[in-house]
């Protein structure tokens, strides 16, 4: 039976309970400012964005967008009507982004992991190389990408100079910033910019693998490749799970790289969804449709992230058993 806390005959538990609340409450009180800011910075804008997606928010209403008429699901209908031009363009952009993200994350992970494994061995200049590898990650995005823009230029760019003028690999100088090659240009810059992060994380993960495992393996006659396959990769699994997810989300949402490379109208081959949504809202001044597309993207990423987390945590539980 529960005791009634207001029962004057039971002052002991009440005092104790007050103490308990104070004891438990303090951490929450300390968390409160962070929580309020978190709500303000992340959740409130998200909710406003979602509200906007149900409005007809065009240039006629942006000055006082409370007066913009409600449009129900119209913005969503336009976005997912894949037979009509807007939906078709969004779908195309979505597929380009998926392809780009898979390739970029794949290469970032592969290069980062290979480099991290090689950097495990002690040799002269290792510290220098490690620092060197991290430079692309440390550079400001704009400065780095604008440098690539110069290198990819048709007439005076370094890339064409090497490929065409020096190595004679192409019949004529290629265009990298317009047309179909723009996809590869974007991929190259993205991988160049992203792999040092994979390298950094994997390198940290490798520090936690006990040396004895490798010693035991080499006594058992396992070669380098076998050691990587049987020891390194399985031990890195938890690290990789987080790494791949983070890389995926960053790459899928990357706005700066394509925007600096191509400006406000990206070539079709490299029409990433973040720039596409930007264009759908800021360039056509239809912020309602832009918000609807953002919400759809949010839902997609939530689903992917959720499925990924369920899938990987189930895998981990099985591994633990």
């Amino acid at each position: 039976m529960r005791k009634n806390p207001s029962d004057p005959a039971a002052p002991g538990p009440r005092r104790r309970r007050g103490e308990r609340i104070r004891r438990i409450g303090l951490p929450y009180l300390l968390l409160l400012p962070a929580l309020v800011l978190e709500l303000l910075v992340h959740l409130v804008p998200m909710v406003i964005g979602i509200v906007m997606s149900f409005k007809e928010l065009t240039q006629f209403y942006i000055r006082d967008w409370g007066t913009a008429p409600w449009s129900g699901f119209d913005n969503y209908k336009v976005s997912v009507d894949f037979d009509a031009p807007v939906g078709k363009a969004l779908l195309h952009s979505f597929f380009v982004t998926v392809g780009f993200t898979l390739l970029s994350v794949g290469f970032c992970w592969l290069i980062g992991t290979v480099a991290a494994i090689y950097m495990q061995d002690t040799f002269r200049g290792r510290g220098f190389l490690r620092a060197l590898f991290l430079i692309p990650y440390a550079l400001p995005v704009y400065a780095a990408v604008i440098t690539w823009v110069f290198m990819f230029q048709h007439d005076n760019g370094l890339v064409n100079h090497v490929l065409h003028d020096q190595l004679h690999l192409t019949d004529k100088p290629s265009f990298w910033l317009i047309g179909d090659n723009s996809f590869y240009a974007l991929l190259i810059v993205s991988v160049w910019k992203g792999w040092p992060f994979a390298f950094l994380i994997v390198m940290a993960g490798l520090q936690n693998i006990p040396k004895e495992l490798y010693e035991a393996a080499s006594i058992d006659g396992a070669g380098r490749l076998q050691q990587i396959r049987r020891i390194t990769l399985p031990s890195l699994r938890p690290v990789n799970q987080v790494l791949v997810l983070v890389l995926f989300l960053w790459t899928f949402n990357d706005f700066n790289t394509p925007y600096v490379l191509f400006g406000r109208s990206a070539p079709e081959a490299a029409d990433l969804i973040s720039v596409h949504i930007y264009q759908a809202s800021f360039v056509t001044w239809n912020f309602g449709t832009g918000s609807a597309m953002s919400v759809l993207l949010l839902l997609f990423l939530l689903v992917v992230t959720g499925v990924y987390l369920v899938f990987t945590s189930r895998g981990r539980k099985t591994a633990d058993v």
């Binding site: 804008p45 000055r63 109208s265 939530l302």
Partner: protein, 438 residues
């Protein structure tokens, strides 16, 4: 939680930016006041070769204004790449400057937002009356039948800049007056190992400015009389094709220019790599890149045949900058005074000389400083053969949609793919579908 947050953050970056600005939107519906009569914020567009040069030009004038009125003007020169976004954000949030420069082609689009002070007769009277301004400039200040959303500040027109030395070497006595002559001259120039004509193939706005003129020369318009997008009519298709064909078929624009968007074509011309350039009021820019005035000549942009004039003989858009006042300014009187100051005869002479543009103010235009051969070509073009871009609310969307279509067509031409009437029409069709449904 962290991953969800990461997803959320990325996915609504745009909404976040918008929403964050919307949070401060309390005063966005305000009608203007005189609460802070001693200060003004002014966003200037980047007219000179760099932002630093603009500051050097404008600051002494703002100091003069302060001496006259006691009002301090806080100046910010906004680069073109940011200006429209900044204006949109300011419109959404209500947190903007008091006075600002806008590209005159945006007038009708921005007018539709209702963010700017309308220049009715009463407001015009405060700055000396509407009839102080040239008609062609007033034609680019907002939709027909509405009070202008802004006041003309600088006027510019396109002209053909040609390198005298290259022309002499190729044995060309006169700058080309028709497109056929330009293509023929191109052959002679190419024979001398020089590039013929520079263009900014990936610059959306430049593409629009040129195709608009070509459309006029084909007797066509991008919008119907009642303001509906009509990008696929035969005249427009022929016009766009003719412009892209300068690269695809006539080979006078070098293929490398298909990716130009940062005024590289101006640098090429200043360095003597290309023989010709179609640009608006380029003198100050060329000078800052080390090309002396005597090294180049200025001629009207070619037409199909005959001489420049009205109708199909149009050879430039009415280019220019307008000065607008945000309706919710805290210094309405000061803003009006500032507009009066900037459009005064004396300031018009100083500023337009510095930027090699033409004053849209009649009295200032008559000053001898604007009678140089270079300026007389621009002045004459503005007076007789320039047309205003469509003054419709969707103008800004039109610039991006059609400008991107032309950019894609240039990319095709550069990659050696055929540019046909069908492929031009298909691109324009796509552009039209992006326009807001009416």
């Amino acid at each position: 939680m962290r991953s969800i947050r990461a997803a959320a953050v990325g996915a609504v970056t745009m909404s976040l930016a918008l929403a964050a600005t919307a949070c401060g939107g309390g005063s966005s519906t305000g009608g203007g006041s005189n609460d802070s009569p001693k200060t003004l914020t002014y966003w200037a567009s980047n007219q000179g070769a760099s932002i630093a040069i603009d500051k050097k030009v404008l600051q002494p004038e703002l100091d003069k204004f302060k001496k006259q009125t006691g009002i301090t003007v806080k100046l910010e020169v906004v680069p073109w790449s940011d200006l429209l976004n900044r204006i949109l954000t300011a419109t959404t949030s209500g947190q903007g400057p008091d006075v600002l420069n806008i590209g005159n082609t945006w007038s009708a689009s921005l007018q539709a937002t209702g963010a700017f002070l309308p220049w009715n007769a009463a407001n015009f009277a405060k700055i000396g009356g509407k009839d102080r301004f040239v008609d062609s400039a007033l034609g680019s200040t907002g939709a027909v039948g509405k009070d202008p959303a802004a006041v003309p500040l600088y006027s510019m027109a396109y002209a053909l800049y040609y390198n005298k030395q290259i022309f002499a070497d190729a044995g060309i006595a006169q700058p080309p007056a028709t497109w056929a002559e330009l293509v023929a001259d191109g052959k002679k120039i190419e024979a001398k190992g020089k590039q013929v004509l520079g263009a900014e193939g990936a610059n959306v706005s430049e593409n629009i400015h040129h195709t608009f003129v070509f459309a006029k020369q084909h007797g066509a318009d991008f919008f119907t009389a009642d303001g509906k997008a009509d990008f696929t009519n035969d005249g427009v298709v022929a016009a766009v094709k003719q412009y892209v064909d300068l690269m695809a078929k006539d080979k006078v624009i070098p293929v490398g220019n298909a990716e130009y968007a940062q005024n590289q074509s101006v640098s090429d011309f200043a360095k003597g790599k290309t023989a010709m350039l179609m640009w608006q009021s380029a003198s100050a820019n060329l000078k800052s890149q080390g090309m002396s005035d005597s090294a180049y000549g200025i001629a009207p942009i070619p037409v199909q045949s005959g001489t420049p004039g009205t109708g199909t003989q149009v050879n430039s858009m009415v280019a220019g900058i307008n000065l607008a006042v945000f309706k919710n300014t805290d210094n309405l009187d000061g803003s009006t005074k500032f507009v009066k100051f900037m459009t005064s005869d004396a300031e018009q002479k100083i500023l337009n000389t510095a930027y090699s543009s033409i004053p849209p103010v009649k009295a200032a235009q008559e000053d001898t400083a604007f009678n140089t051969p270079a300026n007389s070509v621009l002045k004459n073009t503005l007076a007789t053969s320039a047309a205003a871009l469509p003054q419709v609310a969707d103008e800004s969307q039109f610039e991006t949609a059609v400008g991107t279509a032309v950019k894609n067509l240039f990319a095709d031409a550069a990659a050696g793919r055929a540019v046909t009437t069908a492929s031009v029409k298909a691109e324009l069709e796509k552009a039209q579908q992006q326009m807001p449904a009416k």
